[in-house]
Amino acid sequence: MDIKIPYNEDLRPDTGLYNAKLGIWLFLASEVMLFGGLFSSYILLRAGASVWPPIGLDGQSVAHLLEETIGLATFNTVALITSSVTMVMSWVSLKMKDISKFKMYMWITISCAIIFLIVKYFEYSHKIHEGFIPAHDTYMALYFTMTGLHVLHIIGGLFVLVYFVMPDGIKMWDDEPIRFTNRIEVFGLYWHFVDLVWIFLFPVLYLLN
């Protein structure tokens, strides 16, 4: 039953990669195409609009509300960048075989992700409360779809992060330390990508209006 897949943790000499690292880069390439499609659609819809953000059927535009939320979004940007830094630190800690520091940095990363989600919740509910639902205009539709997909990526990542510090996930450190370190590296790449997407979303959706 147990078969050994080559290059699961050691590097293949001619490619210099272990399997999961190539796998995550390919996955991120497809993610680039996913968000690339979203940003292209944004450009196309914005180019076709006479005013941006457009005015909805109720004669309102979300422009004034956006001004108010720039502060929150900036705070969120800082939170995500911090989580990216601590994500690297947790990987470095593993490389230095310091499991307690690893746990500490992981918990900071998790906290930052949760803070991001809480702030996002307040942003969403504020907008919806004011009547700016996705159906209001194409800006709101893009706003909710793009940030919504990004939030889904954060939530997915959060589950994996928590798994890594739970007894079930962390026990791999005792049996296969290299594989566990690789897992953290690979997940880190994903996490940086999610962070990077936000770095694009923030100016496009909040500042360039």
Partner: protein, 587 residues
């Protein structure tokens, strides 16, 4: 349960939730063949409506009546036009996304790629299982949607908005199912690429890879990069349908004389761009692995090296790359502008060059070979001219001037069916006959196979060739009465009966195939199907048993010394030199 059995895998982990690439490949194969049959059956029913509009359908009439009543359409055993639209949309969807792609990438790719590169399994076996178990729910959702009020999706497999935005709820199910299928493809393609790049055995350098592996590699890149934009489009359309957004709805849209109460500001063309950005590379996803199968079969049965191996590899790369730059040739008539049309017309003409190079290489490979006319080879030989017809009839469609006349006519239907049906599906049949002994250890019957081939060859042409005649006369596609009420069609209407009878006979022609599959499976193990019945050179034949060992594939990890197509090497006793056989240099 005895102690010994306790160590064995249970039925569930061995056959259902297996992580062995061979079992997953077979699961994909059986499921996809089943869906192909469903997709084909839909078409056989539609062909009755096209030949004899609004008359009761024999045999399946009561079932159609039951289904139509369930969906809320009036039917007296005939196919109402609403249901015709459903069948049309679902025929395309099922054939492409649930039938051909899962069969050629999911089944063939999964089963053969690890064996041909000498790997014990795919790089990520659990991900592999996840990709099948994401495909199956997608398929089940599609099938369930047939029984909803209003039927399944009915806006064509291209699901153009605004129509699809306001269509019945079957469309929502279609979108959800598509998201499952897209996820499945993404997982599968990552897995295949990593397997090929990372798990090639010692000595198997890039230019020693069988062409089939190359074709799977390029196909996987296309799936990986082209599907996400469709996922975006599907999410947008879901938002339009569920959250009331207007991604694809322009301002001031009037439906049945009433203004649609949406914010507007969207663009129906956005869907078409996102959709065709997937769906054109998808054409090459369908055809490239087919070419890979044909390459293996032709080299093996001409007993000589494949002509122009490197040209084939480079052409496929170029084909893959260019396929991302031609999508808007589906949109010449949308008014997107002359400049855009010119650009996409040029790229379309360019992309025909590598296809012709590949086809020419296959034809030149036949030159001077002592050809073995077995069933896989017959399908491969049938494939060459049929794919040629499909490819060449595409040229007038790629030129925006002639496309004005031909756009959305039966000519288009004829063109892409020649590429996909006798093209890809013939390659699939060829591959099934060729690798069946590998998978089961039993040879398929040659006589039944030949009946299957010749009947399919004749009736495929009977179905699709008259479409060119009708299309050139100007008959539009998607007419629920086959053109009976359409002035342009009067002179060419008679072809509808020919096509329909051909389609039903084509259905009958598949019976020998199905009988052959089942009957051979129940035979005892075949002594002819030893490890290498075709005297082939590639690793899966020379270093693995038939069927291969359980999980792990090889007793001993193979080491490769030779290229993939070393047939009839001068001075050798056998007319084939296995990739893993070391020969002394300097003779």
């Amino acid at each position: 349960m005895s102690n010994k059995e306790h160590h064995e895998e249970s039925f569930w982990t061995k056959y259902v939730f297996s992580i062995d690439h061979k079992v997953i490949g077979i699961q994909y194969g059986i499921t996809a063949l089943f869906f192909l049959l469903i997709g084909f059956s839909l078409m056989m029913v539609m062909r009755w409506q096209l030949a004899y509009p609004d008359t009761a359908i024999p045999i399946v009439g009561p079932f159609i009546k039951w289904l139509a009543t369930l969906n809320g359409f009036a039917s007296e055993g005939n196919l109402p036009s609403d249901l015709y639209n459903v069948f049309g949309a679902m025929h395309g969807t099922i054939m492409i996304f649930l039938g051909v792609v899962p069969l050629i990438v999911g089944a063939f790719g999964n089963y053969l790629v690890p064996l041909q590169v000498g790997a014990p399994d795919m790089a990520f076996p659990k991900l592999n299982m996840a990709s099948y178990w994401s495909y199956l729910p997608g398929g089940i959702i599609m099938i369930i949607s047939f029984f909803l009020p209003g039927g399944a999706a009915n806006s064509g497999w291209t699901a153009y908005p605004p129509l699809s935005d306001i269509a019945t709820q079957g469309q929502t199910w279609w979108l959800v199912a598509m998201i499952f299928l897209i996820s499945s493809s993404l997982l599968g393609s990552v897995n295949i690429i990593v397997t090929i790049v990372q798990l090639r055995v010692k000595g198997l350098t890039w230019m020693k890879l069988p062409f089939f592996v190359w074709s799977q590699l390029i196909t996987s890149f296309l799936l990986l990069l082209a599907f996400p934009p469709l996922e975006v489009a599907a999410i947008f359309q879901l938002m339009d349908r569920i959250a009331g957004t207007s991604f694809f709805l322009p301002s001031g849209l009037v439906i049945s004389g009433e203004m649609l109460q949406v914010s507007g500001g969207g663009s129906p063309l956005l869907w078409q761009h996102l959709f065709w950005f997937l769906a054109h590379p998808e054409v090459y996803v369908l055809i490239l692995p087919g070419m890979g199968v044909i390459a293996e079969v032709i080299a093996n049965n001409t007993r000589k090296p494949l002509w122009g191996y490197k040209s084939l590899v480079y052409s496929s790369f170029f084909l893959g790359f260019m396929s991302f730059t031609v999508w808007a040739h589906h949109m010449f008539l949308t008014g997107m502008g002359q400049g855009m049309s010119t650009f996409f017309q040029i790229t379309t003409m360019i992309i025909s060059v590598p296809s012709v190079v590949i086809l020419s290489c296959f034809m030149l490979s036949l030159w001077g070979g002592s050809i073995r006319f077995n069933v896989p080879m017959l399908f491969a030989l049938g494939w060459i001219p049929m794919f040629g017809v499909g490819g060449l009839t595409g040229l007038p469609l790629g030129l925006s001037t002639s496309d004005i006349h031909l756009h959305d006519t039966y000519y288009v239907i004829g063109h892409f069916h020649y590429v996909v049906a006798p093209g890809t599906i013939f390659a699939l049949f060829s591959g099934i006959y060729f690798w069946f002994p590998k998978v089961t250890g039993k040879m398929l019957d040659e006589t039944l196979g030949k009946i299957h081939f010749f009947a399919s060859f004749v009736f495929m042409n009977g179905v699709f060739f008259p479409m060119f005649i009708q299309g050139l006369a100007g008959v539009s596609r998607r007419l629920a009465d086959g053109g009976a009420s359409y002035a342009h069609a009067a002179d060419v209407l008679k072809w509808n009966e020919t096509m329909s009878y051909s389609a039903w006979l084509l259905g009958l022609a598949q019976i020998p195939f199905i009988v052959n599959l089942i009957w051979t499976l129940y035979k005892d193990k075949d002594s002819k199907a030893n490890a290498n019945p075709w005297n082939a050179t590639t690793i899966e034949w020379t270093d693995a048993t038939s069927p291969p060992l359980g999980h792990g594939n090889f007793k001993k990890t193979p080491v490769v010394y030779n290229g993939p197509y070393e047939y009839s090497v001068p001075g050798m006793k056998d007319d084939f030199l296995p990739q893993t056989k070391k020969i002394k240099k300097g003779k």
